[in-house]
């Protein structure tokens, strides 16, 4: 089954940077009501405007292998980079996951995220894979609101 690539199982068993940490600028809690997956996610951002950087993403993800792996990939690909890069990465992930298999994913942009490309062919699982990315978008928005 192409859904469960080794990389996905690896991320789900040993999620990168898992756990909730201080300091943080915003914390959000998102759930997937169809299956009860939950993620609590914190973002710490430094700098403003074009210089803003995602210093830390910390999270507590409870759910299926797809949702936990996806949170891990988010932390791996986005932490330490610019906020602008983070937004592009979220958009690239969203595009791939909602493409019904048309968009294979850009490895330059999303790194290990391409391992989740198989999810796009299972509509019931797209929400699992998107959960932490939507939570991150929400948290980023709140962090920027707090700064302004």
């Amino acid at each position: 089954m192409d859904l469960y690539q080794e990389l996905i199982l690896e991320h789900s068993k040993r999620p990168v940077n898992a756990g909730l940490r201080d300091p943080f600028d915003a914390e959000v809690h998102h759930v997937n009501p169809t299956c009860g997956d939950e993620v609590t996610l914190r973002v710490h951002v430094s700098g403003t405007g074009g210089d803003a950087v995602v210093d830390d993403i910390s999270y507590d993800a409870m759910g299926c292998s797809i949702s936990v792996a996806s949170a891990s990939i988010l932390a791996e690909e986005v932490t330490g980079g610019s906020v602008a890069h983070a937004r592009e990465t979220v958009e690239a992930m969203r595009s791939m996951l909602t493409s019904k298999g048309e968009d294979p994913g850009d490895e330059e942009q999303i790194g290990d995220g391409v391992a989740l490309s198989g999810v796009a062919r299972y509509p019931a699982r797209v929400k699992c894979a998107l959960l932490s990315w939507m939570a991150f978008t929400d948290a980023l928005h709140q962090a920027e609101g707090a700064q302004a």
Binding site: K13, C35, G36, I66
Partner: protein, 431 residues
């Protein structure tokens, strides 16, 4: 002698009535459908009845005086009679809704409307206010929980609930402090949609009636699977859905005692349900019509009546015996797999045909995906019973549920597909 499960020959014949069971899924696997608790498939007899209504008698029933309208009305009302008799009731005690959820909401909103003096009811039975209590259980499907949460919120009444034991039964230890003179409604399920737990309806109803509470029974998971007789159960309201018992989507049934239907305020209002209408106000038709606003679900009722006839011909005692045999086979198979934790009672006499389980270390969504890859369709998640899962300390579960057409070979296919799970997710299991 107790009823026997269906033989292989009977099953082959029976399954031929259900066109969808012949299809393949996920790259050519035969469909192994173990999700009948969510919705059952439909036999040709039901599809033909519904199609027949549209092809020959389609009309907006209870309106107009042309021949089609007469015949459509006759088909609709005779369907009501068949469906009522299926649960031991009379036709005028049965209200058609869009689904069982709407049937329960109808009762919950009757209390709200009665509290505010609306809806054309009479008497004070359908009122709720501060100091009154509604009792539910922690085992309920959201459809028999949220309508009561909302009714309490609107009226100031207090919601209380019977907890569940770790093995998935109702914990009746403190029932006397939960079910008191303050309790106006006790709403609970006949059979748990997750665990298959069969609740002691008669005993609970006697306790409720002793304190003057009305009993609302969610019978969605019992009416399709075992003989149900409203008088025998003694409850006041009983709700079930058509699509879980080989009937069409889009129809639910509320049965209630005639005196209660008469007193009960209406929920949805509009055409069909009136007696007289002026610009200042309106009066309403007698039950059941006053609860059926809008053009009735006639084709669905005709389809559901055909489903009742179909199940009656099979014999509910045999359907029950068949599903019990399948449940036993599955429980025995799962017991041989120590990495699987079955939720719910282990005594077969206290269960219906649903088995929920957890593979510790692997989320139900992942278990379900592996099963689906082998063509085995089960339900994964919290099955619209999130509080129950919390109580059982399970984030989610995998549920297999049966119908008359389910086979022992399908149970074996589920077990075989399940055996792919540990290796795929790197579980260390002793085999």
């Amino acid at each position: 002698m107790s009823a026997a499960p269906f033989s292989d020959e009977e099953l082959t014949r029976l399954r031929a009535d259900f066109p969808i069971l012949a299809r393949t899924v996920r790259g050519g696997h035969p469909l192994v459908y173990l999700d009948s608790g969510a919705t059952s498939h439909k036999p040709r007899q039901v599809l033909d009845a519904e199609r027949g209504f549209y092809e020959r008698t389609n009309a907006a029933v209870h309106r107009g005086a042309h021949q089609l309208s007469e015949e459509g009305t006759d088909a609709y009302e005779s369907a009501r009679d068949t469906i009522a008799r299926f649960v031991g009731a009379r036709a005028d005690e049965v209200v058609f809704t869009r689904n069982a959820t709407e049937a329960i909401n109808l009762v919950a909103y009757a209390f709200t409307n009665g509290t505010h003096g609306g809806g054309g009811g009479h008497g004070d039975r359908f009122t709720l206010g501060p100091g009154d209590e509604v009792l539910v259980t922690e085992m309920e499907h959201h459809a028999n929980l949220i309508p009561w949460q909302e009714a309490c919120r609107r009226t100031g009444a207090t919601l209380r609930w019977v907890p569940v034991t770790p093995d998935g039964r109702l914990d009746l230890t403190d029932l006397d402090t939960l079910l008191t003179e303050r309790t106006k409604v006790f709403a609970f399920t006949h059979v748990s949609n997750v665990l298959g737990t069969l609740n002691p309806v008669r005993a609970l109803t006697e306790r409720a009636h002793a304190v003057g509470a009305l009993v609302v029974l969610d019978a969605c998971q019992s009416v399709p699977h075992l003989p149900v007789d409203v008088d025998d159960l003694g409850v006041d309201f009983l709700a079930f859905s058509g699509h879980k018992m080989f009937g069409p989507l889009g129809i639910g049934v509320l049965w209630a005692r005639p005196a209660l239907l008469d007193e009960m305020p209406v929920f949805l209002t509009g055409g069909s349900m009136i007696e007289t209408v002026t610009m200042e106000g309106s009066t309403y038709a007698p039950a059941p019509q006053k609860f059926e606003a809008g053009v009735p679900v006639a084709a669905q009722a005709v389809g559901l009546a055909a489903a009742c006839d179909y199940v009656s011909a099979l014999g509910l005692d045999r359907v029950h015996a068949h599903e019990q045999a399948l449940t036993r086979r599955l429980l025995e198979g799962l017991a041989q797999r120590p990495w699987v934790r079955v939720l719910g009672p282990d005594d077969l006499r206290e269960r219906g045909g649903a088995v929920a389980f957890v593979v510790d270390g692997v989320h139900a969504h992942d278990v379900g995906q592996v099963l689906d890859d082998s063509g085995v369709a089960v339900r994964v998640g919290h099955h619209c019973a999130w509080p129950l899962h919390r109580a059982l300390k399970a984030q989610a579960s995998t549920r297999a549920s049966f119908a008359a057409y389910s086979t022992p070979a399908e149970v074996d296919a589920l077990l075989a597909a399940l055996d792919r799970v540990p290796a795929m997710f790197g579980l260390e299991v002793a085999v």
